[in-house]
Symmetry: D3
Subunit: 161 residues, 6 copies
């Protein structure tokens, strides 16, 4: 039986921190599905399609990675995909708390679904999608934080080219 894990998130946009988690997850599972949250209630800079497109581009070299867009309850999505785990990266205490509550809630909604937490690489501890967006808006260089394709899309989006 193929062991499938789902790595859900906004990926608005994907950073090297996210890609590090994806690569490490591939050592543990047969397939990793990157699931882009298409949540109409949460504001995002990029549309779900644009976020999907960036993820496809920057993960094209990684085997066993699938990119997908999902809406609805995460626990239902996991079940439909026959996945055995949710993957989450942790950077800080506040991440931990929020994710802890989410994991307990998801376990309540479906006791069979497991959430696995990976510590963010120390190199990316300071990194978040929102910080990257802020730096681009302030005309800073983000090539240390995101792939060049993502950097280009960020500049286009923010009309800075």
């Amino acid at each position: 039986m193929k062991r499938i894990a789902v790595y859900p998130g906004s990926f608005d946009p994907v950073t090297y921190g996210h890609l590090d988690i994806v690569k490490r997850s591939l050592e543990l599972f047969d397939q990793v599905i990157i699931a882009v949250l298409s949540n109409t209630m949460k504001k995002s800079l990029f549309t779900a399609d644009e976020r999907y497109d960036m993820l496809m581009k920057v993960t094209s070299v990684l085997p066993n990675v699938q990119v997908d867009i999902f809406s609805g309850l995460l626990v239902d999505y996991i079940k439909n995909k026959s996945a055995i785990a949710i993957i989450k990266g942790l950077r800080a205490i506040s991440d931990f708390e929020h994710e802890f509550q989410m994991a307990l809630m998801n376990k309540k909604l479906n006791p069979k679904i497991e959430t696995l937490f990976m510590m963010t690489n120390e190199k990316y501890l300071y990194l978040s999608s929102s910080m990257v967006k802020e730096i681009v808006e302030l005309k800073g260089n983000v090539l240390d934080f995101v792939p060049s394709y993502v950097s280009k899309k960020l500049k286009e989006k923010l009309n800075l080219n």
Copy 2:
């Protein structure tokens, strides 16, 4: 002298976690006033009146509970009600920090007012009004988290019936 405690909050909407705190407070005080924040600055899904109505319905069986709407400074409200304590439920570290600052500020504004913290029941650690709203929006079942009357009102509000 009657010992009165005030349990303030948004209750947008009331959950089983809130009701657990109310019931436990009744063991300690002669009367518990559930005080609905009518704060025009803070966005809420339900109006103050709707939140009041739901609280009235779900606490009707509890003796010595009063539901009220308040605006203005909490410390003034406490004083007007001749209450001796503010009741707060704590779930997590971030709750703790924010509530800690609020309690210090309230003590500064009126040194006679005491804030008492109760730990949330472990069964409701993952529970918050915002999570309940999110689950309903994603068409999930929330009957484990809120009374059926509240679940019905949530579905009506979000036009999901």
Copy 3:
């Protein structure tokens, strides 16, 4: 019915931070029992009897306060005393976490027992019995932190007079 609360602790020795919690508890309950932990497993500078003696001295002016020594499970002690609540003072996040686990465990051992948390007065946020002991050992003045009787006993104990 008399409302009794128990304020348990090591009190090794009692500080102004502890006394502040006692005084504030008296506004909420008819009687407050300060319960000195006589735990042979935990090292203390003062014996349980010495800690009891100091508490008696410094609370003699407070009405409705009782000092006691206890061993065994706290939940059994609470029940025997017909108390309705355990009082705890919180200073910091690490206090919070430990006390949170203790409160959940005590609720598991006896669901009827409630733990109430009070925020430490901002004046005493930095204060702990161990800091006071350390300062006395380093020959510093602790009269801002403990009553003079306790300061005298600390110096005697540490052979510094």
Copy 4:
């Protein structure tokens, strides 16, 4: 060589907590530049010019203080001003985490820039600009928290005079 530090922030509006940090910084550096963030993306009650004006008024008696408005990346600003350090005040754990990430990110963007953290005075632990605004909106008195000039401006802004 003159040692210059930059104290960046929103100062929306300046509180006694901020002024305490400024005064203490002056003991350590030859000059302190209070740098008002003019961030069009972040909503503020007062315009950058109004915040600048209030800071000028309330720091006029302090020698070696300069008030400035800045936009763009903080690390670039620091470099242009030939400053050797960023000053930050910490109140709580959540401050700490966010500031920790910012400090690591700024060090990544320019390894020569040092962030120094000062603990907020215990008297101002509960104090934040947003709490002050909330109290004024609820018609409370904030003269313990901000200079009278700032209190007056707050009331004007919120049309409460």
Copy 5:
């Protein structure tokens, strides 16, 4: 290729919280090795052999579980066992911090070794081996927290039968 995970710990003694993590790990890996730390520097109530014996007894019904004693560096042990991950259970913020540092250090010592964190079941959030020992010493009942065999061994060890 068989996917092996190592679940290291003191297990002094094993609790239902540990067993819950083991069972959930078995859903994710082909084999789980429970690795008892035989650390002569750290004081334990039970010897490594006694802790091993208790784990063997209480996991005998679980397929694909191996119990082992190890000393030396965890990263070397993982490599020798050809394991792909270290499993850790998280209960609270302080666990998180310590484990975060350990995970970063282990990654530094061997970049190929992954640490996976699982949230402790809400039912066991308050549970720790040291709390269980304390309750037995105070003659409380721990059958809700550990298997009866472990409870018996605890009483024997503490000469309480």
Copy 6:
């Protein structure tokens, strides 16, 4: 006037994390005094003299650094040295809390003394003297964490050569 800062600690033994803080402090102050705590109450692997010796060796190339041993109250030591600040490195939330309490206490004991916190370099976030000792005891290599002289002394001390 020469600006002097004191960097106090156990340094049992000094690590690259400590040295990073020293070097960064030298950019801000005219002189940095590394003050080794000679606390007879706190157990240490190395004597105060041995810790002093190691610090002297590994800081010999750094200008404006002085190494010293001190006992007694830190605030008195600071005053005697005419220092204007205490330097502390922060790695994690638990560091933060403890240091926060120490800083408030020291300010209470002497309001003129300022504590400045620097974030530990991300490269050394996982690093502590106790982890280094543990790795050496388990025969691991610590040359990435401490200078070779310190590594040699650690092996001698633990009779591992």
